[in-house]
């Protein structure tokens, strides 16, 4: 009882605890988060505050004005949660929360904190000096727009200029000072060096800016004509043409020296074997049809006594010999005699489907299903590899021609029985091919996947009817591999 009475009496002589607010100003406690203060001059327009604002109270408007851009930030206090995240994330401390809590207005528009400034156009764009970059990724982490991607593993640095707001934060963060604003260079087509002079690019070019000389092995672009449409880039089978920065020093001409072909898988081998090979090969050429005049290589059908692989290789040597026999071909190919070191090589699994012939952009391949022959015109072939990737049997490959022949010379008999066995099976299979075909089993759901996969359009699926044009079918097996139900197979026809 007594302590309470004591308290009551002591309180009688105390001032009232009421905060006499409107009469006496009552300041906010330290660290109170009140009205937002925005300093437009400090702002670099990185947009980080907009990104981190959970109620979306901050908006940015960019207007084009004379001498740059007028950037306006509107911070709507009637939408703000006063969480202070914008203040924490602002790299330049342009946003801060004051202790002013007098945020009362009759018109909510009075509660919008706004600031604007004119940002001068930055000359150039963020450019990387590649040799200085250590791929630390700090720039990517700093970028408020996530415009930069850095991959340490593959040592790649990429920037999306559409996303970049040129805030310059990456430049100031870069520990190696490898980033800077630079005038963008003009874009143009650059030849990467793997060019095989296939002339596909010049054929695709809608303005005729490209000149490719197959015989002279030169590639030339007229940059004043080029419209940078990129058709040549997308058409290049070797992916050697790229769109990149060009200046006056960027070569508009690309030439290949007579040195060993870059694209050959084993560049050292042809160089070594080349002098010795023709002499060894010359006798072997007796097996294959001699057609050096048009430089055609013919592979006879499998039933021939000799194995197809062998025949083929000898045929290669024919070509080789033909190339060596310069006088006949001099008019056609004025290059060094070992210029066709590399070429498309046919494996033993060929079913003469003719897909390679259809796909060849240079029309270098001739396939005759009836006589089971596969021919390639080495002069036309550009080793683009389209036939290789399109082969349903994966029997085509690009290989060094002389290396092939050298291999045959070096390993005379050991793999031969194997090859012969293969050839024998092939020989058996091929005559039987007349009676084999795609066999349609039970369980079809008529999804039409096989029709879509068929490279020759032999299959048609209509409702619950499945039909195949046996004459068109090349038995490539694409439908068998595609069938989700596994009802198709290649086997003897009844």
């Amino acid at each position: 009882m007594f302590p309470f009475a004591k308290k009551a009496v002591s309180n009688l002589f105390k001032k009232p605890s009421t905060v006499r607010f409107p009469e006496v100003e009552s300041p906010a406690k330290p660290a109170y988060r009140g009205r937002i203060v925005y300093d437009a001059e400090k702002c670099v327009n990185c947009g980080m505050c907009i990104k981190v604002c959970s109620p979306g109270a901050i908006t940015r408007t960019v207007e084009e004005v004379e001498g740059g851009e007028k950037i306006t930030y509107d911070i709507n206090l009637t939408s703000c949660t006063f969480c202070g995240t914008c203040q924490d994330f602002c790299g330049t401390k342009a946003i801060s929360l004051s202790d002013d809590y007098h945020m009362v207005a009759e018109d909510p528009k009075d509660l919008i904190v706004s600031g604007s400034r004119i940002k001068e156009k930055v000359a150039g764009r963020v450019t990387l000096k590649q040799e200085d970059c250590v791929y630390c990724g700090l720039c990517a982490r700093t970028c408020p727009e996530n415009a930069i991607t850095v991959d340490r593993a593959t040592k790649t640095w990429k920037i999306n200029y559409k996303e970049c707001v040129q805030c310059g934060q990456c430049i100031s963060k870069c520990p190696k000072k490898a980033l800077s604003f630079q005038e963008p260079k003009a874009q143009g087509v650059i030849n990467g060096g793997d060019c095989v002079f296939c002339t596909l690019c010049s054929k695709k070019c809608p303005v005729g800016a490209l000149t490719v000389d197959r015989a002279g092995k030169t590639w030339e672009i007229d940059r004043s004509v080029c419209i940078k449409c990129g058709l040549c880039v997308s058409s290049c089978p070797k992916h050697t043409l790229v769109m990149g920065d060009v200046d006056d020093n960027t070569p508009a001409r690309f030439e290949k020296s007579a040195a060993p072909v870059k694209s050959a898988p084993a560049p050292a081998a042809p160089a070594k074997e080349a002098p010795a090979a023709p002499a060894k090969e010359a006798p072997a050429s007796g097996n294959a049809p001699k057609t050096p005049e048009n430089a055609l290589k013919t592979v006879p059908a499998a039933p021939v006594a000799d194995s197809p692989t062998k025949a083929q290789k000898s045929a290669v040597s024919v070509n080789k010999a033909a190339a060596a026999a310069a006088p006949v071909l001099s008019g056609l190919i004025p290059q060094a005699e070992n210029s066709w070191d590399t070429g498309v090589v046919l494996g033993p699994d060929c079913i003469y489907c003719g897909l390679c012939m259809r796909k060849c952009p240079m029309e270098a391949i001739t396939v005759d299903r009836a006589s089971k022959s596969w021919q390639i015109d080495r002069e036309k072939c550009v080793w683009c590899g389209i036939c290789v990737s399109g082969c349903p049997k994966k029997t085509l490959k690009i290989d060094a021609l002389s290396a092939e022949t050298a291999k045959e010379a070096a390993v005379p008999e050991a793999p031969a029985p194997e090859k012969n066995a293969e050839a024998a099976s092939q020989a058996k299979a091929v005559p039987a091919a007349a009676a084999t075909g795609v066999v349609f089993g039970e369980g079809c759901i008529y999804c039409g996947a096989c029709a879509g996969a068929c490279p020759v359009g032999a299959i048609s699926v209509d409702g619950s009817e499945w039909s195949i044009d046996r004459d068109a079918c090349i038995q490539c097996g694409a439908c068998v591999g595609t069938c989700p139900m596994g009802v198709l197979s290649i086997g003897p026809l009844e």
């Binding site: 409107p22 109620p55 206090l77 939408s79 703000c80 949660t81 809590y101 007098h102 945020m103 207005a105």
Partner: protein, 147 residues
């Protein structure tokens, strides 16, 4: 003579009615704090009314959820004229972090005229007192206009 006296008295003691439309309770607590002896808004005649029919000032907090929308409208209809509508915090003005939700109907301007907006999340009791004082001024003008 009595009419004049009543009018005079009413300007001196605006009664407030508080509607919570799905508020997180932060603003409500601060409004109640204003009525406690600490801030003692009754010094200026502000008094919490038990029914909207007695109210002069309607204080709205919360982002106006779909559930509370109809009840809010019904409440506002019952408030006699002249009256003032005051919003506390960001929610009734914009929806705050709840904006864009399927169950939030903010802003309050869609349903009635807002006389005073008090910003903050939540506003300090001092700011609420300031807002209520401003509302009382507006109310006085409205009453004079009606006479």
């Amino acid at each position: 003579m009595f009419k004049k006296l009543i009018a005079e008295s009413m300007t001196k003691s605006p009664w407030i009615y508080h509607v919570n439309t799905g508020s997180c309770n932060g603003c409500d607590i601060e409004l109640v704090a204003c009525l406690t002896p600490r801030y003692d808004v009754e010094r200026y005649g502000f008094k919490l009314a038990g029914t909207p029919r007695h109210a002069d000032i309607v204080v709205v907090s919360g982002p106006i959820t779909s559930q509370s929308k109809d009840r809010l409208i019904r409440t506002l209809e019952q408030v006699p004229n002249p009256h003032c509508v005051v919003t506390i915090g960001s929610c009734p003005q914009s929806g705050n972090v709840f904006k864009g939700s399927y169950s939030v109907e903010a802003p309050l301007e869609k349903f009635c005229e807002v006389d005073v907006a008090i910003a903050g999340c939540t506003p300090k009791p001092e700011a609420i007192i300031e807002g209520l004082y401003k509302a009382a001024q507006i109310l006085k003008k409205k009453r004079e206009a009606m006479q």
